[in-house]
Amino acid sequence: MIPGIDRDSRPWWEALSRHELVHQRCDDCGRWRWPPRAMCGECGSFAWSWQPVTGDGVVVSHIRTHHSFLPGIEAPYSTVFVALAEQDDVVLPGFWRGDSEPAIGQAVRAVFVDQEGGESLLGWR
C-alpha cells in the first residue's frame, strides 16, 4: 500500500507496477518533470505525455538508516538517491540493491522491487 497516491501521481505508480519507469515530459519545451504535476514549470505548458526513461542514472547521495523509524521496516538499511541520465535534476529515491556500498557518482540502473500488495518500488544497482 503506497500512502498518499493522488490524481497527478497515479499513472506513474501504475506504470511502475507494470515494471515500466516513465516520466512526464513537456510536449512543448521537452523538459522532464518530477514529481508528476499538471503544468510545466519551465514554459507553462499543460501539454505533456508519459514517456519511458532508460532507468540509467548516477548516485547523488546515499544514507544508512540505523534507527527503525517506521513500523515494519527494520534497520539498518541503505537508501540511495539517483539523478536520471535524461535530466540530472530529476532525483529518485530507492532501495540499494548493489553488491557493495553505494558511492556518490556511481553509475546505476533501476530495478523493480515487487511488494506484497502487488505494487512495485524502485531499487538501484
Binding site: 500512502p3 547523488v60 538508516t65 535534476d89
Partner: protein, 369 residues
C-alpha cells in the same frame, strides 16, 4: 518595510519532555509572558501569527481564547522550521502597512510528548512528496538531512569533525543557559563515539524534540520606543524556496534556497554578513549550520567548516535546537532579541533553509538604541 516594526516582548514556557498540557495552553502561557515582558497586556493585541504542520492549535482558536473578538490580522502558516520566521515577517508586514498595531507571534508544540517529527503513529503532514519517500522507509528529518550531509562532506572532502565542532560548541553554549534542556558539555571524542541515527549523522548531530512554546510581540517602531526594552527592529524579512529534494532544479544538494533569498534579505535590511554580531541559524541538524554560513554569505562555498572554527561571532549562543530546545525556529528569534537587548547591534535569525520543504524564511534584527 525596513525598521518600521519591532519585537518588543519575548515569552517562553518551560522547555520539557512532557508539558502535560495542550498546545493551546502552551500558546496562551507564552503569549501572556510575552505581553508582560513588553509592558503590555493581552488586551493590547490586535493580531495573531503562527506556523504549524498539523501539530498545534489554530491561530483563530488562540485569538478567541485570548479574548480577541475582532482580530485585525490572522496568519496561520502551513510549514515547519522553514516557515518559522514568516510568523515574524507577516506580523512586521501587517504592522508596517497599518493592518494591525500589535501582533503576537508564537509556536507551540508538544514535539516530544505528542507529535514527534519521526512519527508516533500519526499520519505524516499533508505533503505531496511523502508518497515517494515513505515506501522506502525514508520519511523523517534526520534521513532527509543525512542526504545533504553526505553530499556536503564528500564534495568538500570533510570528515565528521566538521559537523562535530558545531555540536560540541553549541552544547558548551547551552551549559550556561538555564532554559536549555541539555546542558552537560561533551567532547569531540564523545561526539565521534555517539551512536548512528542515519549515517553520516549520529545522535549528537540531531536536534532535541521538546515540548514548549515561544511568543514574540511585534508593534510599530514608534510605539516600541515607549516600551521597557530596547526594541529589536525588523530590518529585513525574507520568504524563499522553490525547490525540494526530488525536484530541486539545482543539481546541487549542498546549496539551499537561502543562497538566493539571502541576497534579498541583506538588501532589504541595508546590512551584510560582515555587520552581523550574532547569528541564530536553524539547526535541526549540524550540517545546516555550515551550509547556511555559506548560503547567507559569511564565507564561500565549502569554506564553512574553517570559518566556523575561526570565527569569534556567536552562532546559536543559546545552544540552538541541538541543546537549548526545539521550538521550531522561534527560540532562535527570541535568542536574537535577547542578544540585542544585551548589547549586540545586528542579529540574523533563520528558518530551515529550504531543500526539503520547498520554502524558507529569515529575519535581520537591529537594536534601536
Amino acid at each position: 518595510m525596513r525598521d518600521r516594526a519591532a519585537i518588543v516582548g519575548v515569552g517562553y514556557t518551560p522547555f520539557t519532555k512532557d508539558s502535560g498540557v495542550s498546545t493551546l495552553a502552551l500558546a496562551l502561557q507564552a503569549i501572556s509572558a510575552a505581553c508582560a515582558d513588553a509592558g503590555l497586556t493581552v488586551a493590547d493585541l490586535d493580531g495573531v501569527s503562527t506556523h504549524r504542520v498539523g501539530d498545534s492549535v489554530q491561530a483563530a482558536v488562540v485569538a478567541q481564547a485570548l479574548g480577541m473578538h475582532d482580530p485585525r490580522f490572522v496568519s496561520d502558516q502551513f510549514g515547519g522550521g522553514s516557515m518559522s520566521h514568516t510568523t515574524v515577517a507577516q506580523a512586521a508586514m501587517a504592522v508596517a502597512t497599518g493592518v494591525a498595531e500589535t501582533v503576537v507571534c508564537w509556536r507551540a508544540i508538544n514535539s516530544r510528548s505528542e507529535f514527534r517529527m519521526g512519527g508516533t503513529g500519526r499520519p505524516p503532514p499533508d505533503v505531496v512528496e511523502f508518497q515517494y519517500q515513505v515506501p522506502y522507509g525514508y520519511a523523517t528529518p534526520p534521513q532527509q538531512f543525512a542526504v545533504m550531509a553526505r553530499a556536503y562532506l564528500e564534495r568538500f572532502g570533510l570528515g565528521r569533525e566538521a559537523l562535530g565542532q558545531v555540536a560540541v560548541r553549541q552544547r558548551q553554549s547551552a551549559s550556561t543557559n538555564e532554559r536549555a534542556v541539555m546542558r552537560t558539555p561533551f567532547t569531540m571524542d564523545d561526539y565521534l563515539g555517539a551512536r548512528w541515527i542515519v549515517e553520516p549523522l549520529c545522535l549528537l548531530d540531531c536536534c532535541l524534540e521538546t515540548d514548549g512554546a515561544v511568543a514574540l510581540v511585534v508593534t510599530s517602531a514608534e510605539r516600541a520606543r515607549d516600551l521597557p526594552h530596547v526594541p529589536a527592529l525588523v530590518s529585513g524579512a525574507v520568504w524563499g524556496g522553490g525547490h525540494t529534494l526530488f525536484s530541486n532544479h539545482r543539481g546541487d544538494l549542498t546549496t539551499t534556497a537561502a543562497a538566493d533569498s539571502s541576497r534579498r534579505l541583506w538588501s532589504m535590511a541595508g546590512v551584510g554578513p560582515d555587520d552581523v554580531d550574532v547569528a541564530c541559524l536553524y539547526d535541526a541538524f549540524t550540517p545546516l549550520v555550515l551550509v547556511q554560513l555559506e548560503d547567507y554569505g559569511f564565507c564561500g562555498k565549502g569554506e564553512a567548516a574553517g570559518f566556523y572554527a575561526d570565527t569569534s561571532m556567536p552562532i546559536n549562543p543559546h545552544g540552538g535546537h541541538l541543546s537549548e530546545g526545539y521550538v521550531h525556529g522561534l527560540n532562535h528569534v527570541a535568542a536574537a532579541v535577547g542578544a540585542l537587548r544585551a548589547g549586540a547591534e545586528v542579529a540574523l535569525s533563520t528558518g530551515q533553509p529550504g531543500y526539503v520543504a520547498g520554502s524558507t524564511s529569515a529575519v535581520v534584527l537591529k537594536a534601536d538604541r
